[in-house]
């Protein structure tokens, strides 16, 4: 009966020549990362006045331009910025004004007040016959909401992505049966078995970063190392998501972000070095659900705000600059939103659109972000 199946077109190939395909890597800073702390406006006196206890001092920051500096804990990112491969977008956010983690993340991952995920819609629109089991990957225990609509897998390590090995003969016997099956099933079986081989190759290779890259041992760096391995192995990866959580710095912000910023910077820097020239086709987007209140609170922290920060690395990003439209007055009360928040000047989905257009110039952004006003940024 298997032989009766028409050999209809199948969307399950793991072809060997995936090596040139562009790949999107979406990094989510869960908790509301404080853009004003990561990339402080050093020359804005109102910033220093609003944060007498926690502002980044001019003398400590790494100068980026005539207004902004980089927090010293992010130092590993500076050479990437200077080489033009890293763009920073300040005053970046979504239209969600709830200041709620749940609502804001929901809006960000779904790409507006709708179902599905923005990467899921992008992958669906640009799908190719070579999409396969490793087309969309979330590093973690669950598939990120931004991948909704795509067949996506979640794993922390490649050891989770295999056939159980308690029955060593299973694989060979499946190869025999699918080899005889013909049609769509036979083709899919052959491609899946090929995928298993590639994944096993990655599993071995992923322990050997290139170009002298040294990953730290934390989960974020380990995850980026895994993604780099998938990129190099040509397994048909088109999008990967990874999180670095814990940015909800209501309380003693310096201590809290003091451990996160080095993780973020060393992870991205190792990823950058590891991929080397491959980074030209790997587009890294770093966002958070919102930024934080301009003024520090009584517990030397900051509360939920509006605009935050985004980073774009690799993939031909127009980097080496901080995109901003800073109020001439500085961050005085009249320049702020609601309870004293940095207003959103650059929609995150415009920053993302610039990247997706580089990945696939003909993509229809109104289908990736239905209902949101289209636009792009010079990053």
């Amino acid at each position: 009966m298997i032989h009766d199946l028409n050999s209809s077109p199948v969307n399950t190939v793991l072809s060997a020549d995936q090596d040139a395909a562009p790949i999107l890597v979406n990094v989510f800073l869960r908790g509301g990362a404080d853009g004003l702390h990561l990339v402080p406006p050093l020359e804005d006196d109102a910033y220093h006045r609003a944060r007498p206890g926690i502002a980044v001092k001019k003398a400590n920051a790494l100068r980026l331009d005539d207004l902004f500096g980089l927090h010293p804990d992010l130092a590993p990112l500076r050479p990437i910025y200077q080489s033009g491969e890293l763009a920073i977008i300040h005053q970046c956010g979504t239209a969600d004004e709830s200041r709620s983690h749940f609502e804001a993340e929901d809006y960000l991952q779904h790409g507006g007040p709708q179902g599905g995920g923005w990467i899921g819609r992008f992958l669906h629109q640009t799908r190719t016959p070579s999409d396969g089991p490793l087309t969309a990957v979330s590093i973690g225990s669950t598939v990120s909401d931004c991948l909704r609509g795509a067949a996506a897998v979640a794993f922390r390590s490649l050891d989770e992505f295999t056939l159980p090995d308690k029955d060593p003969a299973l694989r060979g016997q499946l190869a025999a049966l699918y080899g005889k099956a013909g049609g769509a099933l036979g083709l899919a079986g052959a491609q899946t078995l090929q995928a298993l081989d590639r994944i096993e190759a990655v599993r071995k290779a992923s322990h050997a970063p290139k170009n002298g890259a040294a990953y730290a041992s934390d989960d974020f760096s380990s995850g980026l190392k895994l993604i780099a391995g998938l990129v190099r192995a040509g397994v048909g990866l088109r999008a990967a998501t990874i999180e670095l959580g814990g940015w909800d710095s209501h309380f003693t912000q310096l201590a809290l972000t003091g451990t996160l910023m080095p993780k973020l910077a060393t992870g991205l820097a190792a990823f950058h070095r590891d991929l080397g020239s491959d980074l030209r086709r790997v587009h890294v987007v770093v966002t958070s659900e919102f930024g934080r209140r301009v003024a520090e609170n009584v517990s030397l922290g900051t509360d939920h705000g509006r605009a935050g920060i985004a980073f774009i690395m690799g993939g031909g990003a127009r980097g080496g600059k901080v995109l901003a439209d800073w109020p001439r007055s500085g961050l005085i009360a009249s320049a702020l939103d609601g309870p004293g928040d940095l207003p959103v000047r650059f929609p995150i989905h415009h920053a993302v659109s610039s990247v997706l257009k580089r990945i696939r110039s003909e993509v229809d952004m109104t289908k990736v972000y239905p209902g949101l006003p289209p636009g792009e940024l010079a990053v």
Partner: protein, 515 residues
């Protein structure tokens, strides 16, 4: 991260008004249920007869297509309904077309610990969306695997796809629960026109396709066409059904003013205030989930849809007039018949069967039972055996069902559905998930992995007694006949003999991917 939002339920608990409710999380109740002697158990596996033909026979074919998978003993039971297989098929169809007469105690008992699936709509906002999603998915899986009303459950799946709603969109997170129990399930084997109206006024649909925002309060407001377009394109006539852009705009005008109340009614009210209002008994969630017609947002002028005039001044009755026009249009009969024939016969449905089925749909005024009865009596249905490829949900459910596994529809199954991209109620766009299994073959590795985990006893929340299954089937070769619906060929026999776990191999093999 911020603490969980307080809810009215939490408030009541704090107020000491409903301490017992703290036990009501489904996980705890299910743990409790395990300890009780009354914990529901499905019928135990008993020795059963498997098909013995060289190819799939009519009874196996009927079970393949009318159910979510051939449970142990079902082939024997249905074969024994009559001496001729054609008559067994007919009697099985009649049995399944009367689900209310089929005893289903185990499923009722198994779902009893779930609480949100029975909550009134206004109370649903007190649940986190993750719990609603979990319960709704558990219900779908448990019913598909364990219900004896199998054709009913298959049709629930069919209409769920047809009237697709992504439960991750805004208030659909709460209202899809209501859509499932008040729209899809009551009408799955009922009348199409009734189903259509229930769907049109489903709060989840009003949110999913923006009907709630379709208003015409002044000359400058333009109707929101989203639902009207999908009503014509996806729910009734089909994209080639002969309607025009003008028809879409006119249909949208007919529907202006219908809206549903969502959680924004909470805005400005704190959780404590909501709790106090609820305690005072004068407000159950602020009218959340209420569907209403706002006459001042309705365009009350004359409309023409598909050549039929709808007079001015009709107000709320425009809805019924519009639904009558689209539900009785010949293109709708053909579109629904095509989809049913694709579902039950072949990915590329034979034209003759479509014509016959469409005729019955039209003549019976959308009677779904009559339409299905006609479909199952066509020669094309009987002939198209083993030719379709299972989609991931079907694969997972049929693997559980045919191995006599017991599942709560929890963690293990849900994770597998997610990695295969086929979580129920989560397809993002209104056309619903692709109907042809070939579109889902990138999930093959996950299917193999699922098979090995299930048979190896490593799938959380599901249990398979592999030894008992093998004994009841009467040995390995008989188990293969049961799982394939026919005699295994020499390659399949050799493969099964070469592995430690022949059941995993069989579930992972090409033959089990088809039905």
């Amino acid at each position: 991260m911020s603490a969980a939002r307080p809810t009215r339920r939490g408030f009541l608990r704090l107020a000491g008004g409903a301490g017992a409710l703290t036990l009501a999380s489904c996980g705890k109740l299910q743990q409790l249920a395990k300890l009780l002697p009354l914990a529901p158990q499905p019928d135990p596996l008993k020795p059963f007869t498997a098909p013995a033909g060289q190819s799939i026979d009519l009874v196996t074919h009927a079970l393949n297509r009318l159910t979510w998978g051939v449970a142990p003993g079902e082939y024997q039971r249905v074969s024994a309904l009559a001496s001729a297989p054609e008559e067994s098929l007919r009697l099985f169809v009649e049995e399944q077309l009367a689900p209310e007469k089929i005893e289903d105690r185990y499923v009722h008992a198994a779902l009893a610990p779930l609480e949100a699936i029975r909550e009134p709509v206004a109370e649903l906002y007190e649940y986190k969306p993750a719990q609603l999603n979990d319960e709704l998915t558990r219900q779908a899986v448990v019913r598909a695997v364990h219900s004896r009303r199998q054709l009913y459950e298959v049709m629930v799946g069919f209409w769920t796809d047809h009237f697709n709603i992504d439960s991750s969109k805004t208030d659909c997170r709460w209202f899809k629960m209501v859509d499932d129990r008040s729209v899809i399930r009551p009408h799955a084997l009922g009348n199409f026109r009734d189903l259509l109206k229930a769907s049109a006024l489903s709060p989840a649909m009003l949110f999913y396709l923006d009907g709630r925002a379709n208003k015409k309060r002044n000359a400058s407001e333009k109707p929101n066409e989203n639902y009207a377009r999908e009503l014509l394109e996806l729910h009734t006539l089909g994209v080639h059904g002969g309607y025009t852009q003008q028809d879409v705009m006119e249909a949208a005008r007919c529907l202006t003013g219908w809206t549903a109340t969502g959680r924004e009614t909470r805005n400005g009210l704190s959780d404590v205030a909501m709790g106090l209002r609820a305690l005072a008994g004068n407000d159950r969630g602020g009218g959340i989930g209420r569907v209403k017609f706002e006459a001042n947002a309705h365009d009350d002028g004359e409309k023409t849809v598909l050549g039929v005039k709808i007079p001015a001044g009709g107000g709320a009755s425009d809805l019924d007039l519009l639904l009558d026009i689209v539900a009785t249009h010949p293109s709708t009969a053909e579109f629904i018949a095509t989809k049913l024939c694709r579902h039950f016969i072949a990915d590329d449905p034979p034209a003759a069967a479509v014509k016959t089925v469409a005729g019955t749909f039209q003549n019976s005024h959308g009677n779904i039972k009559d339409t299905l009865r006609e479909l199952f009596s066509t020669g094309e249905f009987a002939a198209a055996r083993g030719t379709r490829i299972k989609r991931p949900f079907h694969f997972i459910v049929s693997a559980l069902r045919s191995t006599g596994s017991v599942t709560s529809g929890g963690n293990g199954v849900q994770r597998s559905l997610q990695v295969m991209g086929h979580s129920p109620f989560h397809y993002p766009t209104p056309e619903g998930p692709a109907p042809d299994g070939a579109a889902w073959l990138a999930t093959l590795l996950h299917r193999w992995d699922f098979a090995a985990h299930l048979t190896g006893g490593q799938l959380p929340c599901s249990k398979l007694n592999a030894g008992l299954l093998l004994d009841c089937a009467g040995g390995r070769d008989a188990l293969l006949r049961h799982l394939f619906g026919r005699q295994p060929d020499s390659a399949e026999l050799a493969a099964a003999a070469a592995v430690n776990d022949a059941t995993a191999l069989a579930l992972a093999s090409p033959a089990f991917q088809t039905f």
